[in-house]
């Protein structure tokens, strides 16, 4: 600088010089984030690194004024002598200081009291009362052996059409004296679009029956099903719901079932990584219900360590 313009100098930011500490902070934050998916002690190490380097960085920065104002001596807070000199042994609390703290404290308590219930109402109820009622799908006779049937029903008839769901049901014949069913959810394991059966749907053979609990169940038989595919992003599955192509991360979800008074009762749904074998003798790798697109096996499952109640 050969010439310094005092006017201009005021308008230039006095930015701090280069510093290596932010790199340490970045490493610490990265370590912390990696630790979130691997282990808690790596989180602790990352947090420690971030705090140490963050402190060094801040102490580096604090040598520079934030604005361009020169670091002048702080203006005297009061015109009179400071209270500490007047009453060296008395309490340092002043009337205005006490009132400030009391107002802030009381305001904070009132604010918390009135804001916690609405925030609770917004966030917590979605995780409560998630148990599902079993759905009566009607007599076993409407599911011929070896044939796929598109079955639509309502999870909760009181909610109306928004609770309508579709399952693909195949009667596999008896297994150890009990009827065996394959009940596949139509929710794609990629992002939840409805998968379609690859086969000859016979809409003219649509049947609608009413069952107990006000359920209205519609069944449509499908001939020669070779698998399932999703219209949204091209996920493809075989007849057991195993992923064969496309973006899905696992197989199609299934439903538990039971037989009551000769009726097929739909139970809870669960997630499936893959199915070995086929039909009644299939071995299902069963997991708790998980959202679409989430891995339930393989190393990627560490991304989803805790599942909300379903």
């Amino acid at each position: 600088m050969s010439r310094v313009d005092p006017e201009q100098g005021e308008h230039k930011p006095d930015l701090p010089g280069p510093s290596v500490w932010p790199i340490g902070v970045a490493v610490g934050v990265a370590c912390l984030l990696v630790g979130l998916v691997i282990s808690w002690w790596i989180v602790a190490i990352g947090g420690g690194i971030s705090i140490v380097f963050g402190f060094l960085w801040l102490s580096d920065l604090s040598g520079h004024p934030v604005g361009a104002r020169p670091a002048a001596a702080p203006p005297p807070a009061t015109t009179g002598p400071p209270p500490a000199q007047r009453r060296p042994e008395g309490p340092t609390t002043t009337r205005s200081g006490f009132l400030s703290v009391a107002t802030l404290g009381l305001g904070g308590v009132i604010g918390a009291l009135v804001s916690i219930p609405p925030i609770f109402l917004a966030i917590v109820p979605p995780f409560l009362k998630q148990s599902k009622k079993p759905v009566d799908l009607g007599p076993l006779a409407q599911f011929p052996a070896g044939q796929w049937v598109v079955t639509t029903f309502m999870l909760d008839p009181s909610e109306g059409a928004v609770s309508r769901r579709t399952a693909y049901i195949r009667y596999n014949g008896p297994l150890k004296g009990q009827p065996s069913f394959t009940i596949i959810s139509n929710r794609c394991a990629h992002l939840g679009c409805p998968v379609q059966p690859l086969g000859l749907v016979q809409p003219d053979k649509t049947k609608t029956i009413s069952t107990t609990g006000g359920e209205v169940v519609t069944t449509i038989p499908v001939l020669a099903v070779s698998g399932f595919s999703c219209p949204c992003h091209g996920g493809a599955y075989d007849t057991e719901g195993n992923r064969t192509a496309g973006p899905p991360v696992r197989g199609l979800d299934r439903y538990e079932f039971s037989i009551k008074n000769g009726h097929l009762i739909l139970g809870r749904n669960y997630s499936v990584s893959k199915v070995d074998g086929a039909g009644a003798g299939a071995r299902i790798h069963k997991y708790d219900l998980t959202g679409p697109g989430q891995h339930i096996d393989g190393w990627e499952q560490i991304f989803y360590p805790i599942q909300p109640p379903h």
Binding site: R3, L36, R69, G291
Partner: protein
């Protein structure tokens, strides 16, 4: 009780009568001066049409706000009647098709203008010191605007809306660690149901607009405080200095009235 008044022409008299309410308001609130201060700020002489993109974005948002309020008078956020109410707005209500169309297409206009405005700020270097905070607020506004698009897309409650929202919520669900919880909160449970639509409606028309309005207020406050930047090809110094509290007699926008040459301090 007659007070002696200087004789005035009829025209002056009419002017005084017309201005009296404004004087009354100004004396009691200072609002007229505040509005003048806001509207008649000094800006660099070489600003150009690109610098109107921010105002255009604000206008697009105001259009969304006004048409949205009117649409809410006819819309029903209930799964069994939402689609019917949309059809009612489009086909039956007088000019309903127009207002719904303004809201539906205006949403895209709002997002596109935000990106154009952002590009202008970036290419002009207007995000640099001391305006970094305004850039950050702008990015938050962009995120909130996109969330408005996401939540508003569900409301017609047709097949496109429903499945796009299913996919959108499940996309959020694939986020590591908190993804499953985030999607449950968005859905209002583990399955899409009546609560999902009401929840999206509330977020779309109450939560996000309030947040956007607050941030727009901050955004404008910073624009007024820091002034408008000159274009990069300007021969004059960019923007105003921050306000010097030590020198109250100097106007804050001195740098705009009498700009100093660009890079003057470096030599």
């Amino acid at each position: 009780m007659a007070v002696a008044r200087p004789p005035r022409s009829r025209r002056k008299q009419m002017e005084a009568i017309a201005l009296y309410p404004l004087d009354w308001l100004e004396e009691r609130s200072g609002l007229v001066g505040a509005v003048k201060y806001f509207l008649f700020r000094k800006v660099p002489g070489d600003t150009n049409w690109f610098q109107t993109l921010g105002s255009a974005t604000l206008t697009a948002f105001l259009v969304q706000a006004i048409t949205g309020v009117i649409l809410a008078m006819y819309y029903t956020p209930d799964p069994n009647s939402a689609y019917e109410s949309i059809k009612h707005i489009t086909n039956d209500v007088t000019l309903g098709w127009l207002v719904r169309g303004m809201h539906r297409w205006g949403a895209s206009v709002f997002i596109i203008l935000m990106f154009f405005h952002m590009a202008r700020v970036f290419l002009f270097g207007a995000y640099k010191y001391p305006r970094e905070l305004n850039w950050i607020i702008g990015v938050l506004l962009l995120v909130l605007g996109m969330l408005e698009g996401f939540t508003g897309y569900l409301l017609p409650w047709d097949q496109t809306a429903y499945w796009a929202t299913v996919v959108g919520i499940n996309l959020n669900g694939t986020g590591p660690i908190i993804g499953p919880f985030l999607s449950s909160v968005l859905r209002g449970g583990s399955e899409i149901g009546p609560d999902t639509l009401a929840r999206f409606y509330s977020i779309h028309m109450l939560v996000l607009p309030a947040a956007i309005m607050g941030l727009i207020g901050l955004h404008l406050y910073l624009v007024i405080r820091l002034g408008v930047t000159s274009p990069p090809w300007s021969k004059k110094a960019a923007g105003a200095p921050w306000i010097e509290e030590d020198e109250p007699e100097q106007p804050a926008r001195k740098g705009l009235v009498e700009p100093t040459p660009r890079g003057g301090a470096a030599k």
